[in-house]
C-alpha cells in the first residue's frame, strides 16, 4: 500500500472516530442529494456533479475546464455558471443534463476573480473582476443570456472575491442589495498571484445598489488591516451575514491566531469572539441549519462552528476541510479524502470521495431536490 493510500486510510479512520455510523441515507431526501463542486484530479481541472445516495459520493456529469474553477452558481433552469479563479480569463455556462457549454473569454483589460452570481431578479449576472491596469476591483454586469458585459461598476476596493445578493432586507438595506467582499490584497498582472505590498492591504465589505451599482455602505475591520474579507454566507435564523477571513500577517503568531470569521448585522462588522487559533485561514463558510456558521479551516484540519453573533462554539476535526455547503436540515464539509454530512443534531456521516486523487476547491453547492 502506498503512502497516499495509507494516509487516506488513516484520515478515514480519524473521521470514523467522530462517532459516525454507516450511511443509511435516511438523512437525505428520497433519492439522495446532488452536489456541485470544482476539483483538481491528475493535473486536470474539473467542475461537476456528485450524488450522495447511500454511503458514497457517486460522480455524475463532469466537465474538464482549462484552468482552475472556483465558485459555482446554480441557475434556476439547472445550468451552472463558473468563473475561472483569479487571474481568470474565462466564464462558462454548463448544462450538466446535456453537456452544452457557453464560453466567454475575457477580451478586455479585465480578469475574473472566481465568483459569479445571478441578480435576485434573475435579469443580470454579476462577476467579480480586476482591472489589470489599475488593479482596482470591478463588478461585471452581464446579460443573463449572452453573458456579455452590459455595464461595469467599481467594487470600491481591490481584489473583489465573493458576492451575494441579500436574500431579505436587513436594516437599511433592501432585499437584493449586492454585497461584495473586497479581499483587499494588491496584485499586478505582471506578478500574477504574487501578493504585493501587503502593507497596502485594504479589505472591505461593500453594499451596492443592485440597479445602479451605487455604493450604499462600506465596512472595514479597522482594528486589523491584514484580514482579507473573502467568502460570504447568509444565516436566515440569526439574520446576519457571516464572512470567512484569511489572515495575511507577516508575523506567524499573529497569523495563526487571527480570527477566521466576521459578522455583519446590517450596521457593523465585527470579528468572531472566543475563537482558538485556527491558523488564520477560513476556506469557506456556510450557515448552519439551526442558525450560526461553519467555517472550514484547512490549515488547522478543522471546521469551526459559531453562533449567529460570531461566538465560537466548537471545532470538528476534518483533514484539509475546504468546501462547505448547506441544505435544509444538514450541512456538508469536503476534506482531503471524504466529505462529511452533518445533521442539525450533530450526527455526522462520512462519505469517502470517489478517488483519492481528487482535490476539491473551496465550495460545495447543493442542488435543491
Amino acid at each position: 500500500m502506498g503512502t497516499d493510500a495509507l494516509s487516506r486510510r488513516r484520515a478515514l479512520q480519524a473521521l470514523a472516530l467522530l462517532g459516525t455510523t454507516p450511511w443509511h441515507g435516511h438523512l437525505l431526501a428520497a433519492g439522495g442529494t446532488t452536489l456541485l463542486a470544482a476539483w483538481q484530479q491528475d493535473e486536470e481541472q474539473h467542475i461537476g456533479q456528485f450524488h450522495a445516495d447511500g454511503g458514497t459520493l457517486v460522480q455524475g456529469p463532469t466537465l474538464v475546464v482549462p484552468t482552475r474553477a472556483h465558485g459555482l452558481c446554480l441557475e434556476p433552469q439547472g445550468s451552472v455558471l463558473a468563473a475561472a479563479r483569479r487571474p481568470g480569463d474565462w466564464l462558462l455556462r454548463w448544462d450538466p443534463r446535456d453537456g452544452r457549454t457557453q464560453w466567454l473569454w475575457a477580451d478586455d483589460d479585465r480578469r475574473f476573480n472566481g465568483h459569479v452570481i445571478r441578480s435576485a431578479a434573475g435579469q443580470r449576472v454579476w462577476t467579480t473582476e480586476t482591472d489589470l491596469d489599475t488593479a482596482r476591483g470591478r463588478i461585471g454586469v452581464r446579460d443573463v443570456r449572452s453573458l456579455d458585459k452590459d455595464d461595469e461598476w467599481a467594487s470600491h476596493g481591490m481584489d473583489p472575491h465573493q458576492l451575494l445578493a441579500l436574500p431579505e432586507a436587513l436594516g437599511a438595506f433592501p432585499a437584493g442589495t449586492l454585497i461584495v467582499a473586497n479581499g483587499g490584497i494588491p496584485t499586478l498582472p505582471e506578478t500574477g498571484r504574487l501578493k504585493r505590498s501587503l502593507d497596502r492591504m485594504d479589505a472591505s465589505l461593500v453594499a451596492l445598489h443592485p440597479g445602479s451599482g451605487e455604493l450604499i455602505g462600506q465596512w472595514r475591520l479597522a482594528q486589523d488591516p491584514y484580514l482579507s474579507i473573502r467568502h460570504l454566507a447568509w444565516d436566515p435564523v440569526s439574520r446576519t451575514l457571516g464572512i470567512a477571513l484569511q489572515a495575511e500577517h507577516r508575523d506567524v503568531g499573529a497569523r495563526r491566531a487571527a480570527p477566521v470569521l466576521a459578522i455583519w448585522d446590517g450596521r457593523r462588522l465585527a470579528t468572531a469572539q472566543g475563537q482558538p487559533p485556527l491558523e488564520g485561514y477560513g476556506g469557506d463558510i456556510c450557515a448552519l441549519p439551526g442558525g450560526g456558521f461553519a467555517v472550514s479551516c484547512p490549515r488547522a484540519d478543522r471546521v469551526a462552528l459559531y453562533d449567529g453573533r460570531g461566538r465560537f462554539l466548537r471545532a470538528i476535526a476534518h483533514p484539509q476541510a475546504y468546501a462547505l455547503g448547506a441544505a435544509p436540515g444538514y450541512w456538508w464539509s469536503g476534506g482531503r479524502d471524504a466529505t462529511l454530512a452533518v445533521e442539525g443534531s450533530g450526527l455526522t456521516r462520512v462519505l469517502p470521495h470517489p478517488a483519492a486523487t481528487m482535490v476539491f476547491d473551496n465550495h460545495w453547492q447543493i442542488v435543491p431536490a
Binding site: W90, L132, H161, G192, Y281
Partner: protein, 343 residues
C-alpha cells in the same frame, strides 16, 4: 560563501563524478541574477532597441517592410530574453504592459495614427494596446508605408528604446546593490524571483500557448488559434526564446555538474540551489522535467496542430505542478495564491 557543503552524486553520470556543491544563500542567488545575468541582457535589449529606432527613422520609406520586420524580430527576441521571467524593474516599471501589450487593438491603433502624434509626450496619451511590439508588428506587416505611418513607427520604436534604456539603467543600479546589507530587501527579491519564474512559465504555457488553443476550441466552427504574434514562425521563435531564458535560470549550464556555479561570479540557477541544499533527488526530478520541455519544444513541428500544442502545454504543466508542489517549498518560498492553495 557560508554553510555546509553538499556532496552530490548525480545518477545520470558515472559514479566517479562526485562534486561538492556549496550551500547558496538567497543573497548569492540574487547577486548572480542581478549582478551577473540581467545587466548583460538589459544591455543587449537596449542595443537592439537603438538599432530598431535607427532603422525605422532612417530607412522606413526606403526599404521593404520585411527588412524592418527582421530588425523588429531581433529586438523582440532580446526583449523576451530579458523579460522571461519578469523580475526587478521589469515588474516595477510594468514594462510588459508598456511595450508588449496584446492583443493589440486595431481600432485604437487607427485612432492613434489619425491623431498624428509628433513626440513621445504625445505618445503618452496613446493607450498601450496601440503601441509597443504588437502595434509595430501590425504596421510592419503592411505592404508599404506612407510618411504618416513612418512617423508613427518611429515614435513607437523610440518608446521601446526609451523603455530599454530605463531598464538598462535600473538593472545597472541593481547590479551594484549589496544584498547582504539588505536582509529584508533580499528576502522580498528572492521570493519575487522564485514566484516570477513560475509566473514566466505560466505566461508562456497558458497565456501564449494553450489559452489561444482553448479559446479557438470553445469558439467552435474550426476557428484557428490566434497567438500573440502574427506568424507561426515568430510565435515559435518567441516561445523558444522565452523558454531558453527561463531555462537559463533553472537548469545547470553544461559543465556545471563538475564545476558548480560560484557565488559572486556566476548565475546560480534553481537546480544549483536545490543541490546546495542537499536536495539531490528533487534536483534530478527538476532537471528531468526541464529536459522534457526541451524535447517537447525541439520536436514541435513548424506548423503544429491542436493536439501538438496541447501536448507541449501538458509537458510544461508537469513542470508547473512540480514547482508548486515541491520546488518552491524546498527553497523556503511561499507561492502567492498557488494552485496548491485555496482562494
Amino acid at each position: 560563501m557560508t554553510g555546509a557543503l553538499a556532496l552530490v552524486t548525480l545518477p545520470a553520470v558515472p559514479a566517479l563524478a562526485q562534486v561538492a556543491f556549496p550551500y547558496y544563500r538567497g543573497e548569492d542567488a540574487l547577486q548572480g541574477l542581478y549582478a551577473q545575468h540581467m545587466p548583460a541582457l538589459a544591455r543587449a535589449f537596449e542595443a537592439r532597441a537603438r538599432a530598431l529606432t535607427a532603422a525605422v527613422r532612417e530607412q522606413c520609406t526606403q526599404v521593404e517592410p520585411a527588412m524592418l520586420l527582421q530588425v523588429w524580430r531581433q529586438t523582440l527576441q532580446a526583449w523576451l530574453a530579458l523579460s522571461a521571467p519578469a523580475v526587478g524593474p521589469v515588474v516595477t516599471r510594468r514594462s510588459q504592459r508598456q511595450i508588449d501589450f496584446w492583443p493589440m487593438r486595431p481600432p485604437l491603433l487607427q485612432k492613434a495614427l489619425d491623431g498624428q502624434p509628433r513626440t513621445l509626450a504625445d505618445m503618452a496619451r496613446v493607450g498601450t494596446p496601440a503601441k509597443g511590439f504588437p502595434a509595430m508588428e501590425a504596421l510592419l506587416l503592411a505592404q508599404a508605408f506612407d510618411a504618416r505611418t513612418c512617423g508613427y513607427l518611429t515614435l513607437v520604436a523610440e518608446g521601446i528604446e526609451a523603455e530599454a534604456s530605463a531598464l538598462r539603467d535600473a538593472f545597472d543600479r541593481l547590479a551594484a546593490h549589496d544584498w547582504t546589507e539588505d536582509e529584508e530587501g533580499a528576502r522580498t527579491a528572492f521570493a519575487e524571483w522564485i514566484n516570477q519564474w513560475l509566473g514566466g512559465l505560466e505566461r508562456l504555457r497558458w497565456i501564449e500557448i494553450e489559452q489561444p488553443v482553448q479559446r479557438a476550441r470553445t469558439a467552435g466552427q474550426g476557428r484557428p488559434p490566434v497567438f500573440a504574434r502574427r506568424s507561426m514562425d515568430d510565435n515559435l521563435a518567441a516561445w523558444r526564446t522565452q523558454w531558453q531564458a527561463l531555462r537559463n535560470q533553472a537548469r545547470l549550464a553544461p559543465g556545471q555538474q563538475d564545476a558548480p556555479p560560484q557565488p559572486g561570479r556566476d548565475l546560480i540557477p534553481i537546480e544549483a540551489l536545490l543541490m546546495g541544499k542537499g536536495q539531490m533527488a528533487l534536483a534530478q526530478r527538476w532537471a528531468q522535467a526541464i529536459d522534457s520541455v526541451d524535447r517537447a519544444l525541439a520536436t514541435l513541428p513548424a506548423r503544429p496542430e491542436g493536439d501538438e500544442w496541447m501536448a507541449l502545454s501538458a509537458t510544461m504543466k508537469k513542470l508547473t505542478a512540480l514547482y508548486q508542489q515541491d520546488i518552491a517549498s524546498a527553497l523556503d518560498v511561499p507561492l502567492g495564491f498557488s494552485d496548491t492553495d485555496g482562494d
